[in-house]
């Protein structure tokens, strides 16, 4: 009839997990928090892709279409292009943002065109409008292509190779703002995965500390001949398991979702496959024990579940800071950053998602640092359980 601290910790784990699995609130938290990240990223990406696509399906309002029927016909033949009637006052229409871009063809066009002189056309656009930029660029590109084609035809008709006139062969490598934004969205992934660990741990971390205080059950529990560290460790391990479970679900959903995303439409050469999934988990999972230990330590000071939750929301904001700074590109990677909890995970995950090679030794050291810190905090939690004010103070 002897029990060891290890077996007692196991008993506590079983009890806490059972208690947790019956708490509808905690289960809903896990579901919502693991759906949040994939959902939000999916939404951001899709709206980004839609904007991109809307630039391809373009309606060009033309003033004076009758002055250049050949050009208009050519434009109509281009994929996704529709020609619309131009407004009476083109500049006013663009300035008031009724139109993104208006093409104005003066009546001198036909004469100059036939004479092989530069035929003037006007592209009315507002350079300060973010939204119209892809569309303007698309129209400009179309006109330049038309320009190139006609020029080639003219050269050929004069017995020259069009290649003579092509001094440069420019290949477009797009690093436009929309792609940058897409990359920024990807930068949120590490943050979201870490947040899911945090929210997944919260239910047990608060219920098994502040919750016990609120119910007045610490007294009866601690009278049992189990060392405080065994009881604290049991609660901690149970919390760690739920945190890890939430991370697994979140990461799994993220990666399933990425298979459905129209990444090609955004011109992103980006892979999130099984190796990246596994590396992400290897980076984030060792953080879970530390997150739970810190949450427990903070929540033990709270007299009620609610009080604990408000402390932990502050903690959650604090843990988001490194991730935010990294996403906003205000941090440049330095070697020491890998070894600071949270910052290290953020940096490592950025590397993982950027397909940079990762030194396995770094992973090992980061893991060891996290788990050691978790053990230190856990000891402190066990220390708190000796305090009379914590056991009896309600």
């Amino acid at each position: 009839m002897k029990s060891t601290p290890a077996s007692q910790a196991l008993v506590v784990i079983r009890k806490e997990l059972r208690d947790w699995s019956r708490d509808r609130r905690s289960i809903i938290t896990v579901i919502i928090s693991s759906l949040l990240a994939p959902g939000l990223i999916f939404f951001l990406f899709n709206s980004q892709a839609n904007r991109q696509r809307s630039a391809e399906d373009v309606t060009i309002p033309v003033v004076g279409a009758a002055n250049a029927p050949a050009l208009i016909d050519w434009l109509r033949q281009q994929a996704g292009v529709t020609i619309g009637d131009g407004p009476a006052d083109a500049e006013e229409a663009v300035r008031s943002r009724r139109e993104d871009v208006v093409l104005v063809i003066p009546d001198t066009f036909a004469k100059n065109f036939r004479a092989s002189k530069p035929a003037q056309i006007r592209l009315v656009a507002d350079g300060s409008s973010q939204n119209s930029r892809p569309k303007v660029r698309r129209v400009t590109n179309l006109l330049q292509r038309y320009n190139g084609e006609i020029a080639s035809l003219r050269l050929i008709s004069r017995g020259l190779s069009p290649a003579v006139a092509s001094v440069l062969n420019i290949e477009d490598v797009e690093v436009s703002s929309s792609q940058q934004r897409a990359a920024q969205i990807l930068g949120f992934i590490p943050l979201f995965v870490m947040i899911s660990a945090f929210t997944g741990a919260m239910a047990i971390a608060t219920d098994s500390t502040a919750g016990e205080r609120e119910r007045g059950s610490f007294e009866a529990l601690l009278v049992n001949p189990a060392p405080r560290i065994a009881i604290a460790a049991g609660k901690w391990l149970a919390g760690t398991l739920t945190a890890m479970l939430t991370v697994l679900i979140t990461a799994g959903l993220l990666f399933t979702m990425f298979k459905q995303l129209p990444l090609q439409d955004l011109g992103i050469r980006f892979r999130l496959g099984q190796p990246e999934l596994i590396r992400t988990l290897v980076v984030v999972l060792p953080l879970a024990p530390l997150i739970v230990a810190i949450q427990m330590y903070v929540a033990t000071f709270a007299k009620s579940f609610k009080e604990a939750q408000s402390y932990l929301s502050l903690l959650m904001v604090a843990q988001m800071v490194p991730g935010m700074m990294a996403t906003m590109n205000t941090l440049s990677t330095k070697a020491w950053m890998y070894y600071v909890p949270w910052l290290g995970q953020q940096t490592l995950l950025t590397d993982v998602l950027g397909s940079k090679p990762i030194n396995p030794m770094t992973l090992v050291i980061v893991g060891v640092i996290n788990i050691t810190l978790a053990a230190v905090v856990l000891r402190a939690v066990a220390g708190l359980l000796h305090r009379e004010r914590i056991i009896f103070g309600r």
Binding site: Q8, R18, G216, A220, N224, P225
Partner: protein, 247 residues
Amino acid sequence: MIRVDNLHKHFGDVHAVNDVTFSAPDGQVTGLLGPNGAGKTTTLRMLYTLMRPDQGKIFVDGIDAVADPQGARFALGVLPDQSGLYPRLTAREHIEYFGELQGVTGADLRSRTDHLLTMLDMTAIADRRVAGFSHGERTKTALARAIVHNPKNVLLDEPTNGLDVMSTRAVREIIRRLRDEGHTVLFSSHVMQEVSALCDTIVVMARGQIVAAGSPDDLRRKTGHENLEDAFVALSGLEAEAETSPP
């Protein structure tokens, strides 16, 4: 067997427990009687090792509970002042949780749990979550989990406080049974009838001090009151405060 020697505890300026010395022998029920705020709960908390005395010695079956609280806990079963249950667990799960922490497992644990549930007349609600339990059902659950490991010494803080007649009888029944099996039972109460109905020895506390101790007959003789309640009032000095009429 519990022995307490010269126990002191301060909370700031308040001398909550002041030089308390008594012993609770095996096979007897000892009652800690006193008005609210007399220091009964604080004394019990020191006995069950969750509070450190500022001064004094506590021996549980000869184990120094101040120096070796862990060792003393193996010999203790405790019903604290708060029942402190987990709303989402059933009564049976509460009993099994504490049994397992005490090292009781398997078939042994199951038979003890069933035995306690029967004895406390709880079989019908054994597998219900305690969230909807009445006060009496909660106390009985807390009592069952406190003694599932068959501890030699049982400490109960106001066990029948606020219970209805049937629950009170069940708790008294358990206390008598424990005594007959040779356990040390120490419980606190501010209700005279409770103590006189159950106790072999009464320790009367007031303002952190022991004002009298002995069998109910001893106390009657000492105070010259036939009625035990009058004896209690005289001993605890409540009379002077309330300025009630003389007996």
